[in-house]
């Protein structure tokens, strides 16, 4: 009894003996603790849980048993994983440059258009606001064979043989990518426009007085000064294409990622392993691999930013 009251007195004394600065630090940390705890519980804890799960054979219904790195070995031996890996990077290396190129060209010329500028800009931005699911369904019907597919109707009226699009292992991935690129354009155009507007007009005036050609102005002034914008968009759209899911899943719901897995990205494989086959441990291992890929790409990005 007396020991307890003694300690209480001591701790009370401790608080009153503290300096204002120390008290401020304690208060600051106790407030900071709220988001910190939130992050630890909501973000970090499940992440570590996933690392642990990836070393088990948990299937939701059966209790988990530790299997070591078996899931990872299985993954590296799974031909589907390598196909999916290839697809994921195809989305990245096709999607990012194409979308950036188109959006830059549009933004570059839109920047000079005065007539109905905001209206045209709004039109470009519109697809970005549309749900990916709805868009994928509409595009899925665009790609249908005759008599209902718009694109094939057009082709055959021009005398061109109809194309299989989503029913082809070579055409399906670009066909799925097209709406994804199209949907992202609006956002990238807006960012590019902001970047272009941020370049001081005086540079251009000086260059023109010196008689620089438009091409030289683009190469020597516009592009170098756009680098921060460009780096941001490259990173942003890279992560977007690496995580592509809804467009792929919705454009081919009966055979998601098909035909013959030719459009399946890693995220879709994770989803199917976890919520269709209930192989949670295996799915967790795939998630860890995706995490590592995203981490590496983010580190490269940080490197690029520092170079600036």
């Amino acid at each position: 009894m007396s020991a307890v009251s003694h300690r209480e007195a001591a701790s009370g004394g401790l608080w009153s003996r503290m300096s204002l600065g120390q008290k401020q630090v304690i208060w600051a940390w106790s407030f900071l603790a709220v988001p910190l705890v939130f992050y630890v519980v909501i973000r970090f804890w499940p992440t570590f849980q996933a690392f642990y799960l990836s070393t088990t054979d948990w299937t939701i219904t059966k209790p988990a048993a530790f299997v070591g790195l078996e899931n990872y070995w299985r993954l590296f031996e799974d031909p589907l994983f390598w196909q999916v890996f290839r697809n994921t990077f195809l989305y990245l290396i096709l999607g990012t440059p194409i979308s950036l190129l188109i959006s830059f060209v549009v933004a570059y010329y839109l920047d000079r258009v005065r007539f109905m500028h905001s209206f045209i800009r709004a039109l470009y931005f519109l697809p970005f606001l549309t749900t990916a699911a709805a868009m994928a369904w509409v595009w899925r019907w665009f790609y249908q064979p005759v008599p209902i597919g718009v694109i094939n109707d057009l082709l055959s009226s021009l005398g061109v043989p109809q194309q299989p699009f989503l029913r082809s292992t070579t055409q399906a991935l670009p066909a799925v990518l097209a709406p994804a690129v199209w949907a992202g354009l609006g956002f990238q155009i807006i960012i590019f426009l902001a970047g272009l507007r941020a370049i001081p007009v005086t540079y251009y005036e000086a260059a023109r007085i010196d008689g620089l050609s438009e091409g030289a102005i683009l190469r020597k002034i516009t592009l170098p000064l756009l680098k921060p914008t460009l780096v941001f968009l490259v990173v942003f759209s890279s992560i977007g294409f690496l995580r592509i899911f809804d467009q792929v899943y919705n454009i081919n719901t009966n055979d998601p990622g098909g035909p013959l897995n030719s459009t399946k990205p890693l995220v879709l494989m994770i989803y199917q392993t976890a919520f269709s086959s209930y192989e949670m441990g295996y799915a967790a291992a795939q998630t860890v691999v995706l995490f590592v890929i995203l981490l590496v790409i983010s580190l490269v990005q940080l490197r690029l930013m520092r170079d600036r």
């Binding site: 064979p145 008599p147 029913r167 009966n254």
Partner: protein, 417 residues
């Protein structure tokens, strides 16, 4: 645990005494949301409660997506249903997860079940125990567009009876444009729909093989019969050119849109096709082979008792399960949902068998097979990929079949562990 249970039951006893002993037992029933199923179940619950005023049944419904995940999470957390609806193909999973319990033989004698129900109910049996009973069952049949038949000069009241006639009718009804593109299919090809079941349980058998052996744990179709069955299927597109996988996106969409003369689908499609206004359609049994061999694929959702139900709740749950598997409940289910009764005597009444729509499905039930899937989605995917390798990749059926057999065996072996 024991002690807390005892304490709980003492508390429950006291509470029961305090409320003059007339307190009803409340049990929970779970199924997925589907308008007519919920409506039918509400009617059944009302009737059951009238007959058993001491039991209250609470129905909980939720979207079909992630059904298994949700039920598993709830039961493992000690929450969730006392009586649960599950697809027959999930039974192994639910048993392994200790989510459902075997039916007591005294309350549900196996001999009676086997006498009264269609034989496909055996998919719910493990060892000597039944783990659930269906109210209704589904089977496949050939839907055909009577208008398309008439336009092609075929008798709309004499649909194809054999595979040969099926191909002939498809060749007559298919329409192509100037460059040879199909603009209206004779027969739909849609492995992602019901065609994989047709191929697996019907065509393989009709060409002299069996899809699996050893309780569906060994793939057995990688033989001559399998090749013939796959060749027959892919020839519909490659040789006869009467249909095209992916035409109108889905087989059922093509048929609904009046752009396919024939499609194979299940009882569950009746609701959707029932709203077709543009043309009249008919149903007929799946075509037989030249020797008259027929087969069909049947499936069902069963109701099972969960491990959560204990004591008086278990007794009430048993009563409820008995009621929803009774002839009376099956009649209600058929009227409201349109699914076939799981008991022979209720299903095979003369008027049902003579019914133009239900008749062909019911006849199919007598010789239907039920695949004991380990991972239905993955096994279906194996069949989809098998057909695609031939139809898109131009691979020969034999090689593609061998790959499919290997892939499916791996899926089964993994799930068995």
């Amino acid at each position: 645990m024991r002690f807390s249970h005892m304490l709980a039951s003492v508390a429950l006893g006291l509470a029961t005494l305090a409320s003059t002993g007339a307190k009803a037992v409340e049990i929970e029933y779970w199924q997925y949301v589907f308008d007519t199923r919920v409506k039918a179940m509400n009617q059944l619950i009302a009737k059951f409660q009238d007959a058993n005023p001491d039991i209250k049944v609470k129905q909980t419904t939720f979207p079909y997506a992630d059904y298994q995940t949700k039920v598993a999470a709830a039961i493992l957390a000690g929450q969730g249903p006392d009586v649960v609806q599950l697809f027959y193909g999930w039974t192994d999973n639910f048993i392994a997860g200790k989510m459902i319990r075997p039916l007591r033989a005294e309350a549900f004698p196996a001999a009676e079940i086997e006498r009264d129900f269609f034989p496909i109910v055996s998919a719910m049996k493990r060892g000597n125990d039944y783990y659930g009973l269906p109210t209704a069952v589904r089977s496949l049949a050939l839907f055909y567009n009577k208008k398309a038949f008439k336009d092609a000069g075929l008798d709309p009241n004499n649909p194809p009876k054999t595979l040969e006639e099926l191909v002939a009718a498809a060749e007559k009804t298919v329409k192509r444009d100037g460059s040879g593109n199909i603009v209206s299919a004779g027969m739909t090809l849609d492995m992602g729909g019901q065609d994989h079941q047709w191929w697996r349980e019907v065509l393989i058998r009709q060409f002299g093989g069996v899809p699996y052996t050893e309780n569906d744990t060994k793939v057995a179709y990688n033989d001559e019969a399998g090749v013939k069955a796959l060749t027959f299927y892919t020839d519909l597109q490659k040789k006869h050119k009467v249909g095209q996988a992916g035409f109108m996106d889905e087989g059922q969409a093509a048929f609904r849109g009046g752009l396919a003369a024939m499609t194979i689908d299940g009882t569950f499609r009746l609701g959707s096709f029932g709203t077709i206004k543009a043309f009249e359609w008919g149903v007929t049994e799946l075509p037989a082979n030249a020797q008259g061999v027929r087969s069909n694929y049947a499936s069902y959702f069963a109701n099972a008792l969960t491990t959560k139900a204990e004591g008086e709740k278990l007794a009430a749950a048993e009563k409820f399960l008995k009621y929803v598997s009774s002839p009376e409940a099956m009649k209600v289910w058929m009227e409201v949902v349109g699914e076939l009764p799981a008991r022979r005597e209720v299903a095979l009444t003369p008027e049902n068998v003579a019914h133009p729509v239900y008749g062909p499905f019911l006849k199919g039930l007598e010789y239907a097979h039920t695949t004991l899937f380990k991972d239905e989605a993955a096994q279906r995917q194996a069949a989809i990929d098998m057909a695609n390798r031939v139809l898109i990749g131009g691979e020969d059926p034999k090689t593609s079949l061998a790959k499919a057999a290997e892939a499916e065996q791996a899926i089964i072996d993994r799930a068995k562990r």
